[in-house]
């Protein structure tokens, strides 16, 4: 069958099971947009290419399937650079197709020409410049394979206009053998000898902590993680990228560690004698000063990316492998060492029988939780506290509501005060900290999970960066809900200036009512609501929850002076954690 490269591209996406593409057309990608009219694929026309990228990320976050975005050459392609970087940092499978000027024009500074494969080399897992229409099906198959296997990540396929116009004989690769990837062989199974060593360390530990990262979610390993935790009785911290990987309401859940983690999660890691790092990468926001991080802990590090093992902290046992596969192997190894199902006695004389009692450790953790709770004060007549908004929203929405955050104070409050009991209900920009992520990502999340309620918890600064995508949401009838925690500031920067720059506030004030968020929401086809007092919070959320034919924006006017606590100052040891005024006394 003779078809054009453009037709082959769309057909290849269909063969990959792509249901939705987020994009915005332009000159160089024009040929590819024509066959979209005849395709089963739903195309969602965004208002800015950055929105396409973040929407595709949101879709990937909640579905586990790769998000797909399509853009034109030059500025279209550079506008999606930020989402590619974001997806690279957070290991999100993303396939971006960009148009390119015709091959003969490449290198001539043609109109809307940019070398996007060069630009994105360091922020994609891999990218391709297709120079022959006959390569298109194979390259698309390779791109999806690379994006979704091993450590997931973003890829980009750059297609010159003459290549998409050229004719080719249609085929579809029938197996991985037909792909041209001689250097790509991700391995998933951990070395059994090392798994056994890890199991032995688990049975010797007196103060163990599971340090669960985003890799748990990528590996679809939340179920086996819970088995491991319940089998061993080891408490769990879930990093910003792992919120939802272990239920917050579980008795062994300690919540989020790190710079704005709760006291118990942070201090548990500091005092641990064993860290079981599963799909986590010792990010600086978790470790604080690395030399002072968890000084007494042996480390078992499991990660599918061998380069993460020893990158920051030298592990005692380093296991390269998929978290699900390795945790299953670990459960098997623990069984062989005599550790039975929860509630059963260990096999007599086995290593498990000689295991230290974890009760004193768990009692210590309980004591810290009581002494240093994650709390705040909402005075009845006082200004509206952002944490109160998050908690009320949490309590008034279904348990499996998907929460999407931007970056800054509101993101931290959302992560701290929401109770995540289900995997894939928390979508945020962790590694790259991309302001403006929430609105477009919530659109992608709602498209991926139309059955679920999707709430973006956004800041006023973030909202102003990408709010125009609510036009997309209105036009496409994607009923996302946005709670703006409007404190009229770039709040996190303001917090640092207050604490570390002697209250010299430089370029952080935004104004609470310029723009008028309610009018802006209405102008974009959304329902717009405003809330100024604690009493108005619940009624407004009720109203918003009742709307399901268009997006809703609530402008919550929150206390500009509220800060995110606890806090470990940048570069400080986690031992120097500062708790908030309401969060207990006597922290070291």
């Amino acid at each position: 069958m003779r078809i054009t490269g453009a037709q082959a591209l769309i057909k290849s996406l269909e063969m990959q099971g792509v249901e939705v593409v987020f994009g915005l057309p332009g000159g160089a990608i024009l040929p590819v947009y024509d066959p979209i009219l005849d395709s089963t694929i739903r195309h969602i026309l965004v208002r800015h290419e950055q929105g396409a990228g973040h929407a595709a990320e949101g879709y990937a976050h909640v579905t586990g399937r790769p998000g797909v975005a399509m853009v034109t050459s030059g500025p279209g392609a550079t506008n999606i650079v930020t989402p590619l970087m974001d997806a690279m940092m957070d290991s999100i499978p993303l396939v971006v197709v960009s148009g390119q000027v015709p091959t003969a024009a490449i290198g001539t500074d043609a109109f809307q020409e940019t070398a996007i494969t060069t630009i994105t080399m360091g922020i994609t897992k891999h990218n391709w410049l297709v120079t022959n229409a006959a390569d298109i099906p194979r390259v698309v198959a390779e791109a999806f394979h690379v994006a979704t296997t091993g450590r997931p990540g973003p890829v980009l396929i750059d297609v010159p206009k003459d290549v998409s116009n050229a004719e080719m004989d249609w085929y579809w690769p029938q197996s991985l053998d037909e792909l041209d990837l001689p250097g790509y062989h991700p391995s998933t199974t951990g070395d059994p000898v090392l798994v056994r060593q890890a199991a032995e360390l688990i049975l010797q530990a007196q103060r163990p902590v599971v340090y669960a990262g985003g890799g748990i979610l990528k590996a679809r390993a939340a179920g086996v993680l819970r088995q491991l935790v319940e089998r061993t009785g080891i408490p769990v911290v879930t990093t910003l990228m792992a919120r939802g990987a272990f239920p917050d309401r579980h008795p062994l859940a300690l919540g989020m560690p790190g710079m704005h983690g709760n006291y118990t999660a942070v201090t548990a890691m500091q005092r641990a004698d064993l860290l079981l790092a599963l799909g986590s990468r010792f990010d600086d926001r978790v470790t604080g000063k690395v030399a002072a991080f968890a000084p007494g802990a042996k480390v078992v590090h499991v990660d599918i990316d061998p380069a993460e093992l020893g990158k920051v902290r030298r592990p005692d046992v380093a296991i390269a492998g998929d978290c699900k596969v390795v945790i299953e192997a670990l459960l098997e190894a623990l069984h062989e060492l005599g550790l039975g199902a929860p509630g059963t006695e260990p096999a007599p004389g086995s290593p498990a029988a000689a295991r230290p009692d974890l009760a004193p450790w768990l009692a210590q953790l309980r004591a810290w939780q009581e002494q240093f709770p994650l709390t705040y004060d909402q005075d009845s007549g006082g200004p509206l506290k952002p944490q109160f908004v998050v908690e009320t929203l949490r309590d008034m929405t279904p348990d499996d509501t998907i929460v999407v955050a931007g970056v800054g104070q509101h993101q931290m409050w959302a992560s701290q005060y929401w109770k995540f009991d289900h995997p894939y209900t928390w979508v945020n920009s962790g590694g790259s900290g991309t302001m403006g992520f929430a609105v477009p990502a919530s659109i992608g999340a709602k498209v991926g999970r139309p059955d679920a309620m999707v709430w973006a918890i956004d800041g006023d600064g973030c909202f102003q960066m990408t709010a125009q995508e609510l036009v997309t949401a209105s036009a496409e009838r994607i009923p996302v809900k946005v709670a703006i925690l409007n404190n009229a500031y770039l709040g996190m920067v303001r917090q640092w200036q207050e604490l570390f720059y002697e209250e010299r506030y430089s370029e952080v004030y935004l104004s609470p009512d310029l723009p008028d968020y309610v009018k802006w929401a209405e102008a974009m086809g959304c329902v717009g609501l405003r809330v100024e007092t604690p009493e108005e919070v619940a009624p407004a959320i009720d109203k918003a929850n009742a709307v399901d034919d268009r997006p809703v924006v609530i402008d919550f006017r929150t206390d500009a002076f509220e800060k995110v606590y606890p806090m470990v100052p940048a570069g400080a040891s986690n031992d120097d954690i500062i708790v908030g005024p309401a969060q207990g006394q006597g922290g070291r």
Partner: protein, 196 residues
């Protein structure tokens, strides 16, 4: 003349990186070193006997990052097929030097004599200078460069070193390939990630 086994010192390690012969691959490797802050001491790239692959010989500075981390990050590049670490004492290394040295009638004899000792070749002769070509181990080239410098180096170009594993002398010993970089049974030659 004694030539040190590794004139560059122990902080330098040689990686022989087999890559796909596709456009942009060298840029990917170079960009990785640049963005992760790894220092390259020298780099040489050329096609292999198999037209699908090229070989990049990189001498890396392991003071900028641990070798293991450099290798594992390199291995993540999709176009990188295999990485072999060549310990200097177990590798055959070579480098090519082209050098133009000031050599008027008075010094010309001495320069030619020195070139002869090093088994180099005079490849071009001018009125007051000579161009010399010299192949050898990097240490030998370092020594030559050191000895010729007083005459006045006009221009100098080195290729950077290339290397292959030294051949085994005994029937019983074999080269070990270790996929994934775990362990180091051979000690001298580690194939970190071999094509399958």
């Amino acid at each position: 003349m004694v030539v040190p086994a590794d004139a560059a010192g122990v902080r330098h390690h040689i990686l022989s990186v087999l890559v796909e012969n596709k456009s942009g691959v060298l840029a990917r490797v170079a960009s990785l070193f640049s963005r992760r802050g790894y220092n390259i001491f020298s780099l040489a790239v050329a096609p292999t006997d198999d037209e699908r692959f090229s070989r990049i010989t990189i001498v890396v500075d392991v003071e900028s990052a641990p070798l293991e981390q450099i290798v594992r990050q390199l291995d993540k590049l999709v176009n990188v097929v295999s990485i072999t670490e060549l310990a200097p004492e177990h590798a055959t290394e070579g480098e090519l030097l082209l050098l133009t040295v000031a050599a008027g009638p008075a010094e010309r004899g001495q320069v030619i004599q020195l070139v002869g000792v090093f088994e180099g070749k005079i490849v071009d002769v001018g009125r007051s200078s000579l161009t010399v070509m010299l192949a050898g181990t990097p240490g030998k080239i370092d020594d030559f460069e050191h000895l010729i410098r007083p005459y006045g180096i006009v221009e100098l170009q080195r290729t950077g070193r290339v290397a292959l594993p030294r051949l085994e002398r005994h029937a019983t010993s074999q080269l070990h390939s270790v996929a994934g970089g775990a362990g180091d049974p051979a000690g001298d030659r580690r194939t970190i990630h071999e094509a399958r």
